[in-house]
């Protein structure tokens, strides 16, 4: 689509105001092919192009002053960077300098340079003739080929094989899931220590208190490691029958990793006034999955789909707490395929 003389446009683009004025193109009104869906009230009339060349010396002065102010801000940034490195002052200098320079630039665009409303045309894309040429050209690739089906089938086969070969190395990015998710450092006789490595004993907690327990001498990075140890009144406990004896002196331990989304269950909601406050509960701060520590970690509220896995405890001869076995259930967030693992129930 040729619009206006090339020379005229070149002059317009490069030259001064005169050239620009000459360049004003008049909008071409064309009938829309068939489907002109103008809503009523929408006119095809376009306001004419405008050009305002009047000068505004005051605006020019303000722009100059703003630019100088911006320069002061930038210089201030350099000075403070060298002399007194302070985040607030640096940010203030640089930020204000940029804002002031921006206002200067916008003001120049609005008041100092010529104000122009120009028009251009929306081009029609989609030339049927050219489309047909391209289509014909592409289809030419088939001309003279006799065993088309065979070739296309082989192409599909090689494509699939190449894709598989290209994707196969992705498998090296990580190990297979395997039994890893069921493994924890806990086994019968493993001591419980706190975050500083001090053994947790029967005297550590009073009723209604809790502490984070970790397996002595094991990695803290393992999702199977941390447990939350709560001391409840022994008459509060409502553990299932097959877990009798897993909570000596009211001490219960649960995996600290939420079965919903893997955050650390680090809150114990404890009753303050019996009639109004709910019973004690372990709460995960991420999505507020709420578990009942008294009955084996069942879900009371929130999005968790499984109980918090319980770790059976026993008291060693010196009064410190140790595991009486592994967890009753798999630890960590659920995943498609996680199942109750018979090997993880040693009791």
């Amino acid at each position: 689509v040729s619009r206006g003389g090339i020379v005229a446009r070149l002059v317009a683009a490069l030259g001064g105001l005169r050239g620009l004025r000459r360049f004003q193109t008049s909008p071409r009104h064309r009938e829309d092919k068939g489907g002109n869906d103008e809503a009523p009230g929408r006119v095809e009339e376009v306001p004419p192009p405008e050009l305002d060349e009047s000068s505004d010396p005051r605006a020019e002065l303000i722009v100059a002053l703003l630019l100088i102010a911006a320069a002061v801000g930038f210089a201030g940034f350099v000075v403070f960077y060298v002399a007194y490195d302070d985040t607030q002052l640096l940010g203030l200098c640089l930020g204000l300098g940029l804002v002031v320079a921006g206002v200067a630039s916008a003001l120049a665009g609005k008041r100092v340079v010529i104000q122009e409303k120009a028009t251009d045309e929306y081009e029609d894309h989609g030339e049927p003739a050219e489309q047909r040429q391209v289509q014909n050209h592409l289809v030419e690739g088939k001309v003279g080929v006799t065993r088309r089906k065979l070739l296309f089938s082989s192409l599909a086969v090689v494509g699939a094989a190449l894709g598989a070969a290209a994707l196969a190395p992705v498998a090296s990015l990580g190990p297979r899931v395997g039994r890893k998710v069921y493994e924890t450092p806990w086994s019968e006789g493993k001591r419980l220590v706190d975050e500083k490595g001090v053994p947790i004993s029967i005297d550590t907690l009073a009723e209604g208190e809790f502490v984070t327990g970790l397996p002595a001498g094991e990695s803290l990075e393992n999702l199977g490691s941390p447990v939350i140890v709560v001391r409840l009144a022994e008459d509060e406990l409502e553990l299932p029958e097959d877990r009798a004896g897993s909570a000596p002196a009211g001490f219960v331990a649960y995996s600290k990793i939420c079965t919903h989304a893997g955050c650390a269950v680090s809150m114990l909601r404890s009753p303050k006034y019996e009639p109004t406050q709910p019973s004690p509960a372990l709460v995960c701060p991420c999505h507020y999955s709420t578990f009942n520590p008294a009955d084996g970690g069942s879900v009371e509220f929130g999005p968790a789909g499984r109980p918090l896995p319980q770790l059976p405890l026993r008291v060693a001869e010196d009064g410190s707490l140790e595991a009486a076995g592994g967890f009753y259930e798999p630890v960590g967030p659920s995943y498609g395929g996680i199942r109750e693992d018979p090997d993880a129930r040693p009791l």
């Binding site: 446009r9 909008p27 071409r28 340079v113 190990p175 890893k180 507020y288």
Partner: protein, 463 residues
């Protein structure tokens, strides 16, 4: 000088013709067209500040003991990644300014994209011939959210660790492929091995920014090829009218760029964001109450909180674990709806013709009502992500709020749909502009005890 430079370049590269077209490109004037520009300029600031940060960041979780200027953490065991961020914040001159500006820019970037998207949905700018560019834009929004999440995950502070734990659990929860998928990404069970951090870094500083930059170039190229849309007051379906690039628009847009980056640096310098030294390093057994992610992840937190504990199991075999619904299915639905919208809208609310003129929201009540109801739905879930913050400041129980938001998310969009539709229809019928001052007429009693309309021009001059 200008003449000689242009001549010299044109003789060698033939730039005169494309340059001419660029300089004369017409930008329709409407303030809403600045939203996309703000997003683009945020991206420029993000790249500039991000380059600075990459020179200091260490993508390693190897244990070190902090020995820097920040006394409360002296001697604390932490990953080398977290230590490098602390050093950047406390020891490198202007390091904290750049880091906070980068973080602020990420938040503003996605605000601007979302507002830009809302404008495009409400005015029908996605219609033929611009569907492709709409899809490019939606993809950039998705990449932007992912990029932001990876960015604050890199720090390996307590908040990023909690976020990554959730991301890991959501990945694990995808039916059938989730477990292997998460193990591939983290190179094993969460929190992964040493090789996880370089992966995270290369995604955040190279692969995703490159993808966004490429899509941004495609986005702009398509706009130039098709021209901007415009509101009917200015041009027509055939003719676009506005300010040419040079000199008026370029100066204004450069001004916008400088103002946007200036505001971001002011925020970065004066308004603290993500003080990671207060959260401390992450260990899987640690978490903090009241943790909130960056705003653009809030809708996912809300969805995870609102979902009831629904787990589909066959025997003792879990098919769909519960994080899948809120963490994976919900964003898939939202983005699926966004991607499908140009095609759906052709059946529901639009026609199949080409459109260069924008609708005002009222012009198409059904579309506006659907879009607003959709946005209310997503933002209700977003608001539910902050229920715990409200719980601490009020006597409304957490459980009560969750039930309230569950009902709200299901019912209110329907209500909003009908209200919005009605409002648009009324506005359309009366052509009134309630936000642009009074447009009614006054009836006066005449001396003959009759009534007649007062002269509107007289009224206007009196007011």
């Amino acid at each position: 000088v200008i003449r000689r430079t242009v001549a010299a370049l044109d003789e060698r590269l033939g730039v005169a013709s494309p340059l001419k077209r660029t300089l004369r490109y017409v930008f329709p004037d409407h303030w809403t067209f600045m939203l996309g520009e703000i997003a683009m300029y945020c991206f420029v600031v993000l790249v500039a500040t991000g380059i600075f940060l990459t020179f200091y960041y260490v993508p390693s979780s190897a244990t070190v003991h902090y020995q820097g200027d920040y006394l409360p953490l002296q001697g604390t065991a932490m990953g080398a990644n977290f230590e490098s961020v602390l050093k950047l914040s406390f020891d490198v001159p202007a390091g904290l300014l750049i880091r906070q500006t980068h973080h602020w820019a990420a938040n503003v970037f996605i605000v601007a994209i979302v507002l830009h998207l809302v404008r495009i949905l409400l005015t029908g700018a996605y219609r033929k011939p611009r569907e492709l560019n709409y899809w490019v834009g939606v993809t950039m929004l998705g990449l932007g959210i992912l990029e932001g999440f990876l960015g604050y995950s890199l720090v390996d502070d307590l908040l990023s660790g909690m976020g990554l734990a959730i991301a890991y659990s959501v990945a694990m929860s995808v039916p059938f492929v989730g477990g292997p998928l998460a193990f591939l990404v983290w190179n094993g069970e969460y929190p992964g091995t040493e090789s996880f951090w370089p992966r995270l870094e290369i995604l955040h500083v190279f692969l995703i920014p490159m993808a966004i930059a490429t899509l941004l170039a495609v986005h702009l190229a398509q706009i130039v090829r098709q021209h901007h849309t415009q509101f009917p007051a200015e041009g027509s379906e055939r003719v676009v009218r506005g300010t040419p690039t040079w000199p008026g628009y370029a100066l204004r847009s450069i001004g916008l760029f400088l103002i946007v980056s200036g505001v971001l640096f002011l925020l970065g310098g004066l308004v603290q964001i993500n003080p990671v030294w207060e959260w401390g390093p992450y260990e899987p057994y640690l978490s903090t109450n009241g943790a909130q992610p960056d705003w653009y992840v809030g809708w996912l937190i809300g969805a995870l909180r609102l979902m009831p504990p629904l787990e589909i199991t066959i025997g003792s075999y879990t098919v769909v674990p519960s994080p899948f619904w809120g963490g994976a299915l919900f964003p898939l639905l939202v983005f699926g709806a966004l991607y499908a919208w140009p095609l759906l809208s052709k059946r529901l609310v639009d026609d199949r013709r080409e459109h260069n003129l924008l609708d005002r929201p009222r012009d198409n009540p059904k579309r506006t009502a659907l879009v607003v109801a959709f946005l209310i739905w997503v933002f209700t879930v977003f608001a539910a992500g902050a229920t715990d913050r409200f719980y601490f400041r009020s006597f409304v129980s957490y459980e009560g709020q969750v039930w309230f938001f569950r009902a709200f998310a299901l019912l209110v969009p329907v209500f909003v749909y009908f209200v919005t539709k009605r409002v648009c229809e009324e506005l359309k019928a009366r052509e009134s502009h309630p936000l642009r001052g009074w447009s009614g007429s006054v009836v006066e009693r005449t001396e003959e005890m009759g009534f007649e309309e007062a002269e509107s021009s007289r009224l206007r001059s009196e007011r």
